[in-house]
Symmetry: C2
Subunit: 455 residues, 2 copies
């Protein structure tokens, strides 16, 4: 009993020595680590629902589940915002092989890229031309490309510390590779997976034909990094080998879906809105735990953590779970469109869409004055090992809101492992660490608290 | 060709704008990420050799392998430093269950703690007294402890950001629990595993009887966190349930082993020694990839990275792979003893023994002047997201060297996942990320370079 009294006194003293902001951040992080709702939500979303490609049944189940969870939080308002989304379906599992001579084949793992057309029903077999990027096509010319499969094989640059930079340096091959190769008469496109390690998992992702007429569209698939190495090696030995692949994916008509939204009304400035969000849709190969189930549950946690630590925001705080980031951005665009129609004033938007790994800080799209203000908060974050406050890209779903003095921010988790899982079959719940996920949620809540108080 | 020329010019320009230190750090990180020998060494150590408990055949195989690898690096000298080590063996797999009534049993996962005695051959069955720590024993007194199994169940504190702090707040139960409980006549000891999550893996680790006479020594085992929760829950329902466990571990006579050492002779001050190291022994349940295979291969990488980026240290740079950190620290003590005998002047020692996760920085045991100097280097580390330069504990193996102006440092990787694996069956190679491991090696090499140049 004496010991208890001593501990209470000690605790009072410690708290007494802290500023109100220090106390609030400590309360947020304690709550996030000791009572981890986000991790439970993510478990359900990942394991009980699973992959959530836009337009799929699972995406709709996710909408229902997340709405129910938001309802249970006692917010001031929860609603669904209708948005029409594209519906692309993979069809039966893809097949691919390298044929060194008739009948001598090596299977390799591929997956159709999102938005791609199918191959002919019997598959597509053609000779291959390997390139290091879009810019190689013109040099080769139609003569060396026509009728062939263009194999884009520029790897991610491993010596970049921020792996998203390495991704940015390669992703044009995936997004625009088919469109550009088609202009030279290519029969199809195979793209090296956007992955920094060698493994057997093909990584999906969006591609676009732009305004290419339907009859000129050629099928596009990603090949695993090991498969790409094998294919490249075999081409060195014999440039005339064949590559075969078959996929029967297709684009269906748009379907109805929803952004899932919840809000706490601001106590002083209800007309000023702060948004935290992630995207609810995912690719279809894994369960989308990192991309972006993590961002969704972290964003929901922001509202819960602030509520349960007794902080009532002055401004209206809204969580938005955007639909269709992966292959259309319809949810992000719709949210911004409705906000403009209703003449809502958005002052702050924060997105988490870089995985549920240990948070390191934020990238910010902001004015100089806002940046100065935020840098003042660095010492408050130090006890939580949050050190990165850097100007840079925030997040795809919130960027359609951009304009005026709107402060945009993106959570930056440690990025070293992200592309081992990104858009692949191993983006699954067991690769999310509970503490890392919850630290991200707390870090977001801490920033929202400070922005609401001081901006 | 024109493009190549342009890139060369661009590169020259960029390099021209950098200081020599910036260039050297960039070269170190590039090398570490693009040509990752450390990861290959760790693969062999983990998968081809495996667990390396002191005194085991595997520990000797690891000595031989690592020596060969050091030989292949073209260092100035590689040698083995003899050291006698304890040999404790686990024996046949442990068995444990909770008995709620005669014949009604629930198996639970346990493992004998390192250094523990065996139970009687038929096992030990007794009633249980649950405590929250050593300090509870006196309050209970002999009457409530005698003949019972003491169950230490204080969990790691989940709201601490640095998980090593949470470990430090619990580990006395494991290390001293049996010694203290024996003084009150306990029959045995069961300790909650030092793990921040709930799972089914018991975590090994060292315990000590101190100077307790042999006949008073009681068996001690760790129970998985799920097992601890189950046992605690059942005790709430019925405090008189029995716990049974059986283990036939034992302590054999000391055996000959070795520290593995390699060095590059200093170009200007060969008499001044800098040490980088980790420990080569591990617990016997996993393969010791994080604890501390990672630290060993990172330390070897330091010498390789400096050599292959063309840096010749002014002082003698030595890698030491210490034997027997886990259950005796004989290697660390022997190395310091020999250094004193030979009157070697050590100026810097750096240890990596906190897992192969993304590096965040260093803890330092240093003078005020040294600390000021090191803080000046922070901007050089910023591009690599290294931000933590904090005074604090360095590492167990290098601390016996402590004295005078010796600068001691410990690599601090992100600690969130460490205790999911620490001393357990899942401390295995597949849980080490290549990039994270190699970034740690580069960060160590960068610090060694700066210390050599400016200290």
């Amino acid at each position: 009993m004496k010991k208890l009294l001593f501990l209470v006194l000690l605790f009072s003293f410690c708290v007494y020595g802290q500023t109100e902001d220090e106390k609030q951040l400590r309360a947020i992080y304690d709550k996030a680590l000791l009572d981890a709702r986000g991790y439970d939500w993510l478990e359900h979303l990942s394991n009980q629902i699973g992959p959530r490609l836009s337009g799929s049944l699972n995406a709709e189940r996710a909408v229902t589940y997340m709405r129910e969870q938001l309802d249970s939080l006692g917010l001031d308002r929860v609603w669904l915002q209708p948005v029409m989304v594209p519906k692309w379906v993979r069809g039966i599992p893809e097949v691919a092989y390298i044929e060194t001579s008739p009948g001598m084949t090596n299977n390799v793992p591929i997956c159709a890229l999102g938005g791609s057309v199918a191959t002919p029903a019997g598959g597509l077999k053609a000779k291959v031309v390997e390139v290091q990027g879009l810019e190689d096509l013109a040099a080769l010319g139609r003569e060396k490309i026509e009728g062939r499969i263009v194999f884009y094989n520029r790897p991610m640059q491993a010596n970049l510390i921020e792996t998203f930079e390495a991704y940015g340096g390669c992703v044009d091959q995936r997004y625009s590779g088919a469109r550009e190769a088609a202009k030279y008469g290519a029969a199809g496109v195979i793209v090296r997976s956007m992955n920094l390690r060698l493994d057997d998992l093909p990584h999906a992702g969006a591609m676009s034909y732009g305004d290419l007429p339907a009859e000129q569209r050629i099928p596009a698939a990603a090949i695993s990094t090991n498969g790409a190495e094998l294919l490249s090696g075999m081409l060195t030995l014999n440039p005339e080998i064949n590559f075969y692949f078959k996929q029967n994916c297709r684009q269906l008509a748009d379907v109805q879906s929803y952004n899932v939204i919840g809000e706490i009304k601001g106590s002083e400035h209800p007309g000023e809105v702060m948004v935290v969000g992630g995207h609810l849709d995912s690719w279809d190969l894994g369960d989308g735990a990192h991309d972006d189930g993590a961002g969704c549950v972290q964003s929901m946690e922001v509202l819960r953590l602030l509520r349960e630590t007794g902080y009532r925001p002055k401004r209206t705080l809204r969580v938005v779970l955007f639909m269709n980031e992966e292959n259309g951005l319809r949810g992000g665009n719709k949210y911004a469109e409705v906000a403009r129609e209703k003449n809502e004033k958005h002052v702050f938007a924060l997105e988490s869409d870089a995985g549920g790994f240990t948070p390191r800080g934020f990238t910010l799209e902001c004015t100089d004055e806002q940046y100065e203000l935020i840098l003042n908060w660095k010492p408050l974050f130090e006890p939580y090992l949050i050190h990165l406050f850097q100007r840079g890209y925030s997040g795809a779903d919130i960027r359609p809101l951009k304009g005026g003095d709107l402060l945009l921010a993106g959570l930056r988790p440690d990025s070293q492992r992200y592309f081992d899982h990104h858009h692949a079959a191993n983006d699954t719940f067991e690769h999310v660490n509970k503490r890392e996920l919850q630290l991200g949620a707390a870090t977001m809540a801490a920033l929202v608290y400070l922005v609401d108080k001081y901006l």
